[in-house]
Amino acid sequence: MAGDPLTAQLDAIRAGDRRALATVISAAENDPRVAARLDRELADTPRRARRVGLTGTPGSGKSTLLAELVKLLLERGHMTGGLLVDPSSPLSGGAVLGDRARLGRTSDPRLYVRSLGSRGGHGAVAAATRTAIRLLELWGADLVLVETVGAGQGDVDIRGLVDLTVLVVPPGLGDELQAMKAGIMEVADLFVVTKADRPGAAAAAAALKDAGIGGRARGHREIIETSALTGGGIVTLADHLMQQLEVTAVPAVVHSETVTPPPPPAPSAASGRLHETFDLTGRVAIITGATAGLGRRFAEVLHAAGASVVITGRRAERLQEVAAQLERAVVAPADVSDAEGRQAVVRAAIDTYGRIDVLVNNAGVSGPPVPSEEMPAQRWDDTFAVNITGLFEMARLAGAQMLAQRSGSIVNITSVFGLVANSPVNDSAYAASKGAVVNLTRALAVEWAMRGVRVNAIAPGWFPSEMTSDMVEDESSQTYIRRCCPMQRMGHQGELDGALLFLASDASSYCTGQTLAIDGGWTAR
């Protein structure tokens, strides 16, 4: 797209034009589609800065610390970028961006500082943070400091965006540290105790020593004490940061770049670009039961729409085959009926991408038809363990992350036999478990409706899959389908794509608790 204004502006930024930089950051903030396009275009930018995230409760002194660091980094000749995130009002969307005041004068050609409002439901980093970091890198910053809101769980989001996460702790927080949200304590790569000249600094440092292992390196974290009054510790901190950044200069992410938080749905006029509301660029999706069939298809569809995917299933080698075809995919073999396995899947998503936007709860089992009076107890238990307990636990684990982000979409795969009886194919355990999914979907949806997480379900009719492979060639089965299904056929591969994309993306932003039957009319009569 040579000659278009954005490309021209990117060229200007590359040439060091800070005015273009400022304008394009605004464009990314104001329009998620621009942000998505920038993310795509800048993904391969060779220029990459060392990125440091500063987080900590309001009043911890992180703004002052950032100001001191910036001063030192400039003295050391770094082209420095600063992104200061303050919370946006959930009611008005406005924000008072006050952190810049702590920086004092910032008129330096090697320094660009930008204040960002967190702008709506995405935790403690602004939606455009990642894009802004990329733009700063394009401008020539070799060090980027990001200061988060520091108000809660959402601060862990910073981890997916930076190379090093620094948790800033003021003196006197000894007891509160114990109770501090485990998340941020775990993800921090380095602790800084500010105001070390104050009583209580030693106690805070001691409490941090008990924090155990964590961070990217999964080890004990260094604790550095600083004092803005005496200037002590800042040089040590800067040296330490640079040293650690050398070590982790290669991004920790294996298969893909870290990803940006999803933009909020853009209010826009109906136009030829409507399909963009289905865009999943920058989002992270977990798909269970993705080794084959519908699950594999779901992973491919979400990936094609732009998402990074974490695929899980019991057969690792099959997952590897699926992943091999995808650019942004992580493999996490697990059995969803196993608690540790479920945790491993969710951890893989957060460790790799820093967030979860979509969960497709696809894993499910059924068995050969059996009259209820003869149903073995084990069959019942096994069916429920996967179809409902495993699904519920996955929703809870991924949901916790989504709630922290205040955004996410869960798509449960139930069945038409969660809506109507499956006679004559007798499997009451299956029907009961799938029916449970339908109402669990409603229950979770209502519970989380105000917290940014949507929960919906798809109820497929008969589709070709491993589970149904016997039926495709079997004439009596086909007769049965012709009799019961108004469209008189099984679904084709691809006929669930639209429903999945709809529910996974912002296209369904006002839809929750619903079960969408894709069944050729099976349940319509």
Binding site: G59, T64, L103, P170, K195, L229
Partner: protein, 565 residues
């Protein structure tokens, strides 16, 4: 606890109260007529003897007795009228001197016991410790106060006056340490004995509530400097009030009365603890601390907060800071009417507002008074407006008769109860500050300024929504505003100030000035380390005598004690 009411009296009182409730219900039905004051304290439509029981009997007592709720002295205005301090200041020293002479001719500028008294306000650059030749402050030179940057400027301002009998009050912010030094240096240059020089330096560097901004010293640096100034003055200028805790400024920044009283007392605690940690006997310095309190928002609340402030100060200085001298327990209060309540609309209304504010201050028993000029919302007051302020005070003192009785509202069921409620609410807030790690911690975390800004915003919204009436602004609005004379500062002031400064720099002994500034830096580092407290101010006076300018001294202090961010 002693009881206010005997059993038989209580029976009578309770009988009357229940009959009152019945008659209220009969006449007005469900309506209770409860109200809320500025601090959010619920007010009953009437108070009675039972309300005294909120207050321990010994907390009221008589004027001149601990805890000084009712006054510092056994009798007050009957013996010693309040000191009028009209704020003056504009242009350069020569221009201001003309204004001072006019004020004196009008019967103003009167201090205690026949001396002269002036309340000088400086332009913003001076107040913040910046010389007039600093880039980008030119628009502000001599604009809202007088421009001073050398000891010679003060010598010009007070030429011919006996500084040992002239009370000079100086309203200044981050530049306070240097301005004090310039004044004391001028006194010395004029041959005065600084141990006899009396006056007041507001020394607002303690104020992180909205009056020193980003140019103040770091919070810890500021409190260290306050201790240094207090220690120096106790030794070398014992008649100089070394710090003014400005409840007024906290209110003007937007805090309500309870917040302002609590933050003021918390400041005293933080300063007292800083001194104690440096080995300074609180009884040696605290007697020269004083308060600046704001009046004019809610009449009886203003009276009650004053009484609560005096009581809290006495109790906490004794019990928490370990003071033993009576003078350390006595909160001396300089009153000022509320500037932020003055309106641009119908400015003459401000005359009336100021008079009511001044009346509440007098009924509260304050020791000094500044009545704002009615046209201050429009800019620097005109001479006519300043004279009217003075007349307001004179009418109050000499015509109205309110000075005939000390603490005339003492024993009022309402005022005594409100006094105690404000005291208790302030104590709760002080406890919260303690729980948050103390005042300095709360300043550094931004908690304090957030509290004040939220309170200011709430006030503004009450005005917008009509819940708070401002006559002429949201009620009784007129379309055409009267034409009011407005004082226009002399645009030549900046040029004169710059010329004076340039000449001063050319004429001084540069080597002596440089050496004095080096000594200042050394003293600063020593004091920062917690040793030789008082030596910074001593070195400042020395530097000022050696010709150093305010801005030069300030930048050394900023280097050593850090800047607020």
């Amino acid at each position: 606890m002693k009881s206010w009411l005997s059993e038989s009296a209580a029976r009578v009182v309770d009988g009357a109260a229940s009959r009152w409730l019945e008659s209220r219900a009969k006449r007005y039905g469900e309506r209770t007529f409860e109200a809320t004051n500025r601090s959010g304290i619920a007010l009953q439509p009437v108070y009675g003897p039972r309300d005294l029981e909120q207050t321990p009997v010994e907390d009221v007592g008589m004027p001149g007795q601990f805890p000084y709720t009712r006054n510092l002295y056994p009798v007050h205005y009957q013996y010693q009228p309040w000191m009028d301090l009209q704020i003056i200041g504009y242009g350069v020293a020569t221009q201001l001197r003309e204004r001072m002479d006019l004020l004196q001719a009008e019967g103003g500028a009167r201090g205690y016991f026949g001396g002269e008294a002036y309340n000088i306000i400086f332009d913003m650059p001076t107040s913040m410790g910046i010389d007039p030749d600093f880039p980008a402050v030119q628009g502000a030179i001599g604009d809202c106060g007088v421009s001073i940057c050398t000891a010679a400027d003060f010598e010009t301002l007070f030429a011919g006056k006996n500084l040992e009998s002239t009370h000079v009050s100086m309203v200044c912010n981050a530049g306070s340490p240097g301005i004090l030094a310039l004044y004391l240096a001028a006194a010395r240059n004029r041959g005065a004995d600084t141990t006899k020089v009396g006056g007041n330096i507001t020394n607002y560097i303690w104020d992180f509530f909205g009056h020193c901004g980003g140019i103040n010293f770091s919070p810890r640096g500021s409190y260290r400097l306050c201790a240094d100034i207090a220690a120096y003055c106790a030794r070398e200028a014992p008649r100089m009030n070394a710090i003014t805790i400005s409840e007024h400024n906290i209110c003007e920044a937007g805090a309500n009365n309870v917040q302002a009283v609590a933050f003021s007392i918390a400041t005293v605690i933080a300063l007292g603890e800083e001194c104690a940690s440096l080995g300074i006997d609180p009884d040696a310095v605290i007697p020269r601390w004083g308060f600046h309190v704001r009046y004019g928002e809610d009449f009886f609340e203003d009276v009650a907060k004053t009484r609560a402030l005096r009581r809290l100060y006495a109790k906490l200085n004794r019990d928490r800071l370990g003071c033993r001298k009576d003078a350390s327990l006595q909160a001396r209060i300089h009153a000022q009417t509320a500037g932020s309540l003055l309106t641009v609309q119908q400015p003459l209304n401000n005359l009336v507002r100021n008079a009511y504010g001044a009346l509440s201050a007098v009924l509260a028993g304050v020791n000094g008074m500044t009545i704002n000029a009615y046209d201050e919302a429009l800019g620097i007051p005109t001479e006519e407006a300043v004279t009217l302020s003075l007349r307001t005070s004179q009418i109050l003192a000499e015509e109205t008769g309110v000075t005939k009785v000390t603490d005339p509202l003492g024993g009022s069921f309402y005022v005594e109860r409100l006094t105690t409620e404000i005291e208790q609410a302030a104590l709760a807030l002080i406890a919260e500050i303690d729980a948050r790690g103390g005042l300095i911690e709360c300043i550094e975390s931004g908690w304090i300024t957030d509290q004040v800004a939220a309170s200011a915003y709430r006030w503004r919204r009450e005005v917008e929504e009509g819940d708070r009436v401002l006559v002429g602004v949201n009620r009784y609005v007129v379309d055409e505003e009267p034409d009011i004379k407005v004082f226009r500062p002399d645009p030549q002031a900046a040029a004169i100030a710059l010329e004076n400064l340039e000449r001063h720099r050319a004429q001084r002994d540069q080597a002596a000035t440089d050496a004095a500034l080096v000594r200042l830096r050394e003293a600063g580092l020593t004091v920062r380390d917690g040793r030789q407290i008082g030596s910074v101010t001593e070195s400042l006076v020395g530097a000022a005598q050696a010709g150093a300018t305010l801005g030069e001294m300030q930048s050394v202090l900023h280097d050593v004690f850090g800047r607020n961010k």
